[in-house]
């Protein structure tokens, strides 16, 4: 390349070709996506607050019960059933995702408890990491579904999918955690089956 002017011309030409070939969404669709995210975040905050209250109440009950009855016999500690560590978004990222089978859904009041069998994505089919844990999420937790919704992309609420997720491991989701460890949404990982 002879000089910087020539480089500028080549880059400008390339960028212009990209601009002409791009087919961006209309502004109204961009705003609609943004609105949906705002609603989802608000719902997650509200749900997170409610869950925190519930967790504190349960914790209080459990602490209050510690002076009831004899202590269990001392035995060798069993291995922790779950090595789950909530994913943390990288700097500059909004969410960190966990991939896993979601099943065993059970309604618990305004929440749904699900079991997650964590998967590791890589070359070829995803493999199990051996980490299994449960999450209790608000029924209104947003779920982006496709096959679960009959093949068409749809935004659903977790509470609507309890029946389909009540059985054994069948559906794989990406679970999005925000910087405070709250679940923002679940996305059906339909692409793994394609």
């Amino acid at each position: 390349m002879a000089d910087q002017t020539e480089l500028q011309d080549h880059l400008a030409d390339l960028a212009e070709s990209g601009r002409l070939r791009a087919v961006p969404l209309g502004a109204e669709r961009i705003r609609a996506h943004g609105e949906r995210r705002r609603r989802r975040r608000r719902a997650a905050r509200a749900g997170g607050g409610a869950l925190l209250v519930a967790a504190l109440a349960l914790g209080g009950l459990s602490l209050a019960g510690t002076d009831r009855g004899p202590e269990p016999p001392a035995t060798d500690p069993t291995p922790t059933p779950s090595m789950f560590v909530r994913p943390t978004p990288a700097p500059g990222q909004e969410y960190a995702s966990e991939l896993g089978y979601v099943h065993g859904a059970v309604v618990e009041g305004d929440a749904v408890r699900i079991t997650v069998e964590q998967l590791r994505a890589g070359e070829g089919a995803p493999t199990a990491t051996g980490v299994v844990h449960t999450l209790t999420l608000p029924r209104r937790t947003l779920v982006e579904a496709r096959q679960l919704a009959g093949g068409e992309p749809a935004d659903l609420e977790l509470g609507e999918l309890v029946d389909q997720l009540a059985g054994g491991p069948r559906w794989v989701f990406a679970i999005d955690y925000d910087g405070e460890g709250r679940v923002g949404s679940l996305r059906e990982a339909f692409w793994l089956a394609e």
């Binding site: 390349m1 390339l14 070939r21 087919v23």
Partner: protein, 183 residues
């Protein structure tokens, strides 16, 4: 967009946002195309960045440098593999099959291939300086690098591109050579 912790909230209305989006989305896609070498990815990350801009519209200051903010967010998305997959999937799902677009020109393919072979930081600096017309100081601010580092990245990036494009149709010597032979 200003950092939320240091400015009075301005916010934008729908019309102002739409005007900003319409005026800058194509340009930003072109810039991210040069930075990433992948047009579909450039479109995904730029749109995702605009979605985030609208999400945070109460912090959005159109009198500031919103385009630089969108470009920075789009770049961060592009270099984050997982987010890149997510954005692409989300948009692909909602948009249906990709639109039929003409294939790139051969000389664009050459340039993209060369750009892809230089380090990401060098590529970003070259594009910001030579395509977006930012000064070295502005590039340093946008990339959060010292000025000296940016100068080094630019110098090395240009040298690498010159080397990679030597003897191609983008190398001016290739077109000048026959004249030299005849002269």
């Amino acid at each position: 967009m200003r950092a939320p912790d240091k400015s009075p909230v301005q916010g934008v209305d729908q019309n102002a946002f739409d005007a900003f989006y319409t005026a800058s989305v194509g340009r930003l896609i072109g810039q991210l195309y040069a930075m990433t070498g992948d047009l579909a990815e450039a479109q995904d990350v730029v749109q995702e960045a605009f979605i985030r801009a609208w999400e945070r519209r109460t912090d959005l200051d159109l009198d500031g440098a919103p385009e630089a903010w969108v470009r920075t967010v789009a770049w961060r998305l592009a270099v984050s593999r997982w987010r890149r997959v997510r954005s692409a999937l989300a948009f692909a799902r909602r948009q249906g099959p990709p639109a039929a677009v003409p294939p790139p020109e051969p000389h664009h393919v050459l340039l993209v291939q060369a750009l892809r072979q230089i380090p990401e930081a060098h590529r970003r600096a070259v594009v910001l300086h030579h395509l977006c017309d930012l000064t070295v100081e502005q590039v340093a601010t946008e990339t959060d690098c010292p000025v000296g580092t940016v100068k080094s990245q630019l110098s090395r990036g240009r040298a690498a591109l010159a080397r990679l494009l030597a003897d191609t149709e983008l190398d001016p010597r290739a077109t000048e050579r026959p004249e030299a032979r005849h002269g």
